[in-house]
């Protein structure tokens, strides 16, 4: 078994060395600018991604007027925030937010293709395009949610929102208990893309630490 792991380590080191060598050769030949890799990946790491959605939701938790505007006129609310330049480009047109709470749980799916609000949620999970998820999300959303570990009480209404080329939905999840003293940044750190699709809840910080321990 030790030999097996040794082999993997060597393979990892070889791949890393060869990628470095390839990059160096491409720079030397003038094919690649030295900062190109960071520039293209920066799009996903700093411009369009789930960090934007988390900031929007955290603001909505702290500011009821902003939350209302977010539900009523999502693009206007997003435009009022100082989010990265260019985040509202691809797939960001016509985003619309729906809020969990008051006896309602929202679930986002896309039955037609794979419309997804990239600028606020980042890359869609691998199962988002899965035909079974898409079909069952419509037919039996409560069963699907239970499988995701989100049991919805019978008296809570489940609303399923079908994203399309015209409207790309995202969910404002419920603010968990035990977060009264948290700042906007601390709150944003709790919010996952899955919670903004409605397939996860945002756990309270105390319950998270208990489950980890």
């Amino acid at each position: 078994m030790g030999e097996l792991f040794k082999y993997d380590d060597e393979r990892e080191a070889a791949s890393a060395a060869r990628v470095r060598a390839l990059e160096a050769l491409l720079i030397e030949k003038g094919v690649l600018g030295s900062d190109s890799v960071d520039t293209v990946l920066g799009h996903f790491e700093t411009i369009a991604g789930p960090f934007n959605g988390a900031r929007i939701v955290a603001r909505a938790w702290l500011d009821p007027a902003f939350k209302q505007l977010l539900i009523d006129d999502t693009p206007k609310a997003i435009a009022s925030m100082n989010l990265p330049q260019g985040m509202d480009g691809a797939e960001g047109e016509h985003m619309a937010a729906v809020a969990n709470g008051d006896g309602v749980h929202n679930l986002i799916i896309c039955t037609l293709c794979s419309c997804y609000p990239w600028p606020v949620l980042g890359l869609p999970p691998y199962w988002y395009k899965d035909p079974v998820f898409r079909a069952r999300g419509v037919r039996e959303p409560r069963a699907v949610l239970r499988e995701f570990g989100v049991p919805v009480a019978p008296e809570t209404k489940v609303k399923v929102w079908d994203s399309s080329a015209q409207i790309r939905w995202f969910v404002v999840p419920e603010r968990p208990a035990g977060t009264d003293d948290m700042s906007e940044d601390e709150l944003a750190a709790l919010i996952t893309p899955e919670a903004m699709m409605g397939v996860a809840l945002v756990p309270s910080p105390s319950s998270t630490s208990t489950s980890v321990a």
Binding site: D8, R11, E12, A13, A14, S15, A16, A17, R18, V19, R20, A21, L22, E23, L25, L26, K29, V31, L32, S36, V37, D38, T39, V40, L41, H43, F44, E45, A48, G49, P50, G86, G89, A90, E91, S114, W118, L121, G122, L123, P124, P125, Y126, Y128, K129, D130, A165, T192, P193, E194
Partner: protein, 114 residues
């Protein structure tokens, strides 16, 4: 629909056989070289050295080659290793690097370890 090359490139792979690993809305890179090789491919295609679709077809083929291999002696599954194989082939196909230059890259670890 997509105005950014980066998003077009990523979305073309989603739900396809060459779909890259990701977690909570972000690409999942276990090692720095995986991020590096992904960024290299994106950046070179964006600069016009090859069509992204041509690279993708090589990646799908490279993944299929691993899947068709015998279990015995088969190296552990590694998405970015298949990705690197596909990128090297694409660069030679597109004439960005020669086969000889690429052989030099493949020999790097052997000579460094010797």
């Amino acid at each position: 629909m997509f105005t950014r090359f980066e998003e077009y490139a990523a979305s073309s792979m989603l739900g396809q056989p060459d779909s890259p690993p990701r977690l909570q809305g972000k690409f999942l890179f276990d090692k720095p070289w995986e991020r590096e090789v992904f960024g290299l491919a994106l950046s070179l295609s964006k600069a016009g050295y090859f069509e992204w679709e041509a690279f993708r077809q090589n990646l799908i083929e490279s993944i299929a080659q691993w899947e068709d291999g015998y279990c015995e002696g088969q190296p552990r599954w590694d998405y970015y290793e298949r990705f690197f194989v596909a990128l090297k082939k694409t660069l030679v196909d597109a004439g960005v690097l020669s086969a000889l230059e690429m052989a030099g890259i493949d020999a790097v670890f052997a000579s460094a370890g010797a």
